[in-house]
Structures are given as C-alpha cells and as structure tokens.
C-alpha cells in the first residue's frame, strides 16, 4: 500500500462527478453509455472520468463486445482509510515535537 496509490484514490474521489459515477456502479455493472446518460457532458469526458476511477482501482473495467462495463471495486478504499487513520496520530506527533522543542529552546 503506497502513498502513490492513496494519492490516486484521493484525486479520483475529489471530484463530485466521479463520486456520483461511483454511486451509479455500486450495486450493478453499467456500460459507459448507460453511465453517460446521467451527465450532461460528452461521452469522451465521461470516459476520461471512468479511466481516472479505473486507474485508482475504484472501479473494475470489463469488455463485452464493443461495450466497456464498469463496477465498483470496494477494496480500493484501503489506502484512504489508512490515511484517515493517520490524521490525528500525525498531528499529535507534531504537537509533541513542537512543544518539547519550544520547551528546550526556552530553558
């Protein structure tokens, strides 16, 4: 589990359009064309968003004839959860370092 993986996931999640796409494919596999009907953007723009989600491992892609089918990949949240778990531990580590540093420089 690398920071790069987590970054890919976070960047993919940062966009509200892509979060909506994830909700669409959470319980059923959908073709790119079906997903596109929910958005007022070009099919190409939809495909680009889907590729971002796919590269981040948030959705799986499967070809069936000329169609590309997408579905949510729940395991992808692992790296993000790790980052969340790190928020306060990292902050408190900084607090400890800063307080002790300041105290030493005063004495």
């Amino acid at each position: 589990m690398t920071v790069e993986t987590a970054d890919l996931v976070l960047r993919a999640l940062a966009d509200p359009t892509r979060r909506t796409m994830l909700r669409l494919v959470r319980s059923q596999e959908l073709a790119a064309g079906q997903i596109a009907t929910h958005f007022s953007m070009t099919q190409q723009a939809v495909s680009q968003h889907l590729q971002v989600l796919n590269r981040a491992g948030l959705i799986s892609e499967r070809r069936e004839g000329t169609r590309r089918l997408y579905q949510l990949q729940p395991d992808a949240l692992g790296p993000v959860r790790e980052l969340l778990d790190d928020l306060w531990p990292d902050a408190l580590d900084r607090l400890k370092r800063v307080v002790e540093q300041d105290k030493r420089s005063r004495s």
């Binding site: 999640l13 306060w88 607090l95 307080v99």
Partner: protein
C-alpha cells in the same frame, strides 16, 4: 470507519505548557493547519485551513489547562458539514509530563443498512478528511 477515534500521546511538558498550543493561533499552526482563526471560549469560532481544506467549527468547552472541546467539519462538504463532528482533547498530568488524549466523535457512520450504500456515502468524507490531514 468507526464513528469514534481515540489517539493518545505523552508530551514531556506540563499541561500548562501544552494548553496554549490548543487555543492560540500562532501555536496551533505549529502542528495543525496553514491558517487559523480561533476564539477559545464556548461558542467562539474554531477555523483552521489545511491547504485547500477549510475546517470549520466552534469551541464548546474551554477548561485551561486540562480540557478543550470543539466541533469540527469541512466547509462545503455535504457529508461532514462545518461543526458536524466533535473533537475533545484532554490533558492529564503524568509525572513531569502530560498525557494527551484526543477523541474525535460523531464522524459520519453508515447512514443506511446497505453496506455498499454506506461505503459510497462515506467516500467524500474520507477524501476530505484525508486531504486535510496531509497538508
């Protein structure tokens, strides 16, 4: 993701020495955030920017030098709106040092029974919180 998170650390300083770092902007910024505006009294504003992420809330309890409670949310985030969760920081003397216990409560939990539904509802929260933590 559980709806409560507890983190502790021990600092080699007294609670009196640690407390200002929880309530004074210039000291707060040494360990949390890139910009801060705080008014440490009940109802007073607690606003900290972490890069692009704007954490917004207000102080609930301020008991120098042992305890601070403030609300915590992210401006513009529908799943974790400003002031929607609560952070409590307790400072307990321990010999020459201080045990710091931080509890983050009321984090968004599953809103619906359907696990997959809950999972996707939380995606936005996780992204926002994680970004906040890294800047």
């Amino acid at each position: 993701m559980s709806d409560e998170l507890v983190v502790t650390t021990t600092i080699d300083a007294t609670p009196q020495e640690v407390f200002p770092y929880l309530v004074r902007p210039e000291q707060l910024l040494r360990w949390l955030g890139t910009w801060a505006e705080v008014d440490p009294r009940p109802g007073g504003v607690f606003a900290v920017d972490m890069g692009q992420t704007q954490v917004r809330g207000s102080y609930v309890t301020v008991e120098p030098p042992y305890r601070v409670v403030f609300t915590w949310g992210i401006a513009g985030n529908e799943h974790l709106p400003a002031g929607s969760s609560t952070v409590e920081i307790v400072l307990r003397p321990d010999g020459d040092g201080t045990v710091v216990e931080l509890t983050h409560r009321d984090l968004p939990a599953d809103r619906v029974a359907d696990h997959r539904q809950g999972w996707t509802n939380r995606l936005g929260d996780l992204a926002a919180i994680s970004r906040a933590g890294r800047s």
